[in-house]
């Protein structure tokens, strides 16, 4: 991916830094260190400011992540609907803990706050696509869809 070209595309857009980060993350699933440094130069802000923006938003990540980012909602409506059991099943099936990536680089497991699908709790998202009404017994078949 040509990071310079992506940044150039958003350079003249007012407030385009976050848009540029979204565009980079859409391709790479995270924002590499060199992209943050380059963004600081292109948008004329300090490296601290560019890093500050990249790390303020929980949706953006400066850590390398897997091909599929699984996020378990931990807000109250999902919590009472059994989010902890679903999370445990995810950890057991994937063999990783929250915040980790599988050794083959396929899955990253994260927690998130509400994803706005509270009509069918508990909810996980895989690369932002919601999977509602989750239960431990559904994990295997949902993960099997990730190829």
């Amino acid at each position: 991916m040509d990071i310079g070209a992506v940044l150039a595309k958003y350079r003249d857009k007012p407030g385009g830094l976050i848009e540029a980060y979204h565009a980079i993350q859409k391709e790479l699933n995270y924002i590499p260190r060199e992209a943050v440094l380059e963004a600081a130069r292109v948008f004329g802000v300090s490296e601290a400011q560019a890093y500050g923006v990249a790390t303020f938003y929980s949706y953006l990540s400066v850590e390398k992540r897997g091909k599929y980012i699984i996020r378990m909602c931990e807000s109250a409506p999902c919590h009472v609907a059994g989010a902890d059991e679903v999370l445990k099943a995810l950890e057991d099936t994937l063999g990783i803990k929250v915040g980790q990536t599988t050794p083959d680089g396929k899955f990253t497991l994260e927690l998130t706050e509400c994803v706005g699908q509270c009509q069918e709790t508990p909810v996980i998202t895989i690369n932002s696509v919601p999977y509602p009404n989750m239960s431990p017994d559904k994990i295997a078949s949902v993960l099997a869809q990730c190829t």
């Binding site: 407030g15 938003y57 949706y59 109250a76 409506p77 706005g116």
Partner: protein
Amino acid sequence: MAQEYRIVLANAGKIDPASLDDYLNAGGYKSLEKARAMAPKEVIELVRNSKLRGRGGAGFNAGMKWGFVPESAPVTYVVCNLDEGEPGTYKDRTIVENDPHLLLEGMAICAHAIRSKQGYIYCRGEYPYVVEHLNRAIAQAKQRGVLGDFDIEVRMGGGAYVCGEETALIESIEGHRGEPRFKPPFPGVAGLWGKPTVVNNVETFANLPAIIKNGAEWFASIGSPSYPGTKVFTLTGDVVNRRAFEVPTNTTIRELIFDLGGGIPNGKRFKAVQIGGTSGAFIPEHLLDTPLDFDSMRNAGVTLGTGAVFVMDETRDIVDVVTRIAKFFEHESCGKCNPCREGTFRSYELMKKINAGQATPDDVQKLTTLSKVMTKACLCGLGQAAPTPILTTLEHFRDDYQRRLLAAIS
């Protein structure tokens, strides 16, 4: 028996949301035409007289908010808050997924009233599919020329709850960390890029086409007089019908949960309902006959908020749920002001201690004092509202806390 009354969801399920023609055939963009034939001042007056109040939670008169924008300002902005970060809330998504052009038309009516040429929709990062849906609708509207010289751009948020606060949202559109600004100046005077800006919630904008079409008196006569119209509520938790309902604002909490919501599943009994999102009050059974309007709720010592309705049955552990909520605020505090940054951290620490059955009455006293200080001392609505679940459960569900304290003694 309570019934739905649909204004903002009138087209839901009846038109194809992806079709501009469907929206036009249902009378769409006629209100914008009508508004544009009026003087901007007249439009503001009409909206003010309709008594439409902000549907994002603060309940401020929309027309009055627009009136703060100086008439002489050469550049102004219309900003739509689609950040919808309050857990349990999915109303704005429901409105936009069903009827995207209704939002665009509402924003364009506001744009005419404050002489704006540029609008922004700030959509939460968790809804990338809604961003795509809106961009398609905007492209259709532009191609057909229905928006005239008013342009709308969608900006995607990054999963920060605090960006639902209007000045934090503005900071985020500007490409910064989403930290709230000191007020005044208010956005109506100095908002996006320092220019006068109106920030309204999706549901507020979505009410405008019907108000322009049917008039201020029509709207003011629906529901409760001081907070007229309808409100969209999203049901979640232990309730049979977990979906969005649009009801007149004089509907009571009981009617919403038991008539429309179908009551509590599996033959269990009601214990509590948290209304308005995760920063909302926990409401016990004896307040269920409160009407769902801003002032009635406030007078009952509870909150209307965004319209999230999180129902809990008799088996739910209130202290455990509030501990989880305290964790939410500890995570979402932006860190700009001390009372919130330190307060949410200590609240979560104390709630964890209580939840683990290791707290003393002195800890509960400390938590109460801290909560009261936060409601007064925090810079923005996040920190001011964060203690609401703690204070209202201490008031209405004290026994749940007492049991944890007894566990600590034994």
